[in-house]
Amino acid sequence: MTDEEILTLFFQRDENAIEQTRLKYHAYCEKIMKQILKDRQDREECWNETLLRVWNAILPQKPENFKMYLAACARNLAFSYYRRLTAQKRGGGEVELALEELSECVQISETPEDSVLAKDLGAAVNQFLKTLDAKERGIFLRRYFFTERTKEIAKRYGLRESNVLMILSRVRKKLTLYLSQEGYPI
């Protein structure tokens, strides 16, 4: 079934849309969630909640790219789960390393001004990604959106792991510079 047909089912509020989404994209989203959540049961809960969110949120807006919309939903929910679990000391996985790497790009502080800035961060990240070339952007997103291991990224792009690490380091430095120019505290 095509994405367009699944979306039509969602718009008709046909529950078969959930089943079709599960059939087509469960494996793909599972792979993304697996990088963030170690526990299978947590991932299963997260996936069910993703489907519920999509069911509730898909109207009135129609996503242009359903696959990526689902990927973003699954990732965000998995990360919310991760935050909750780390509070209970049950977290883990590749995301800890990714967060550690990203911490060099931002100043760790908790001021009201920062929370306002954090809201616009998504737009700033998009603007920053626009300045990168396709390969750098791809590698950066594989690491910090899909939370893939550097080894895995290297294999997929036909590079050595050291090259991937170097590219990521270079992009993080560029991001730090970009965010400081945009007025974010670094």
Binding site: K67, S103, V106, L141, Y157
Partner: protein, 157 residues
């Protein structure tokens, strides 16, 4: 602001960027498959061309060696191609292996049907090719400097 905020902000990345990173991987996989197929095709083609070149040059050289024109048929080359249906005479009935019967038939009489091959191998081809082809001829000819032909008797030429 925390690293977590930055990580969370990544969720707002435009879908086209995500799609782009997905397609980069797919393109890469396709590229690897195409390269592998191309390399395999080149190796296969080179092998076929070598085999054809060896076969034809061998035949032409043999004809030249024997002083036979390219058009003239050589019965010995085709006479025993089908070992299973070849008339091998009374020896077959006695339970001899087909190859042994064939060799004995070829080498019977005053001439040797395989002698041109022995001569060719020792004169014209380098050592490794000589060894390989001698092996293919499965013991009918022994090759070597003395042009020994097993089926016909030692040192005959």
């Amino acid at each position: 602001m925390k690293a977590e905020d930055l990580y969370q902000a990544m969720a707002e990345v435009k879908p086209e960027y995500l799609e782009e990173s997905e397609s980069q991987i797919q393109k890469r996989s396709c590229k690897v498959i195409l390269h592998s197929a191309l390399i395999a095709a080149v190796i296969a083609a080179a092998g076929c061309m070598t085999a054809l070149a060896v076969t034809f040059s061998l035949r032409d050289s043999a004809r030249m060696d024997m002083g036979i024109s390219k058009e003239a048929p050589i019965p010995e080359w085709t006479e025993y191609e089908d070992i299973g249906t070849a008339d091998t005479g009374p020896e077959a009935a006695e339970g001899m292996p087909a190859q042994a019967v064939l060799t004995a038939t070829l080498c019977a009489g005053t001439g040797c049907a395989h002698m041109w091959k022995c001569r060719l191998l020792t004169r014209r081809w380098p050592w490794f090719l000589q060894t390989t082809l001698t092996g293919i001829m499965s013991g009918t000819c022994s090759g070597g400097a003395v042009w020994l032909h097993r089926g016909c008797g030692a040192g005959r030429l």
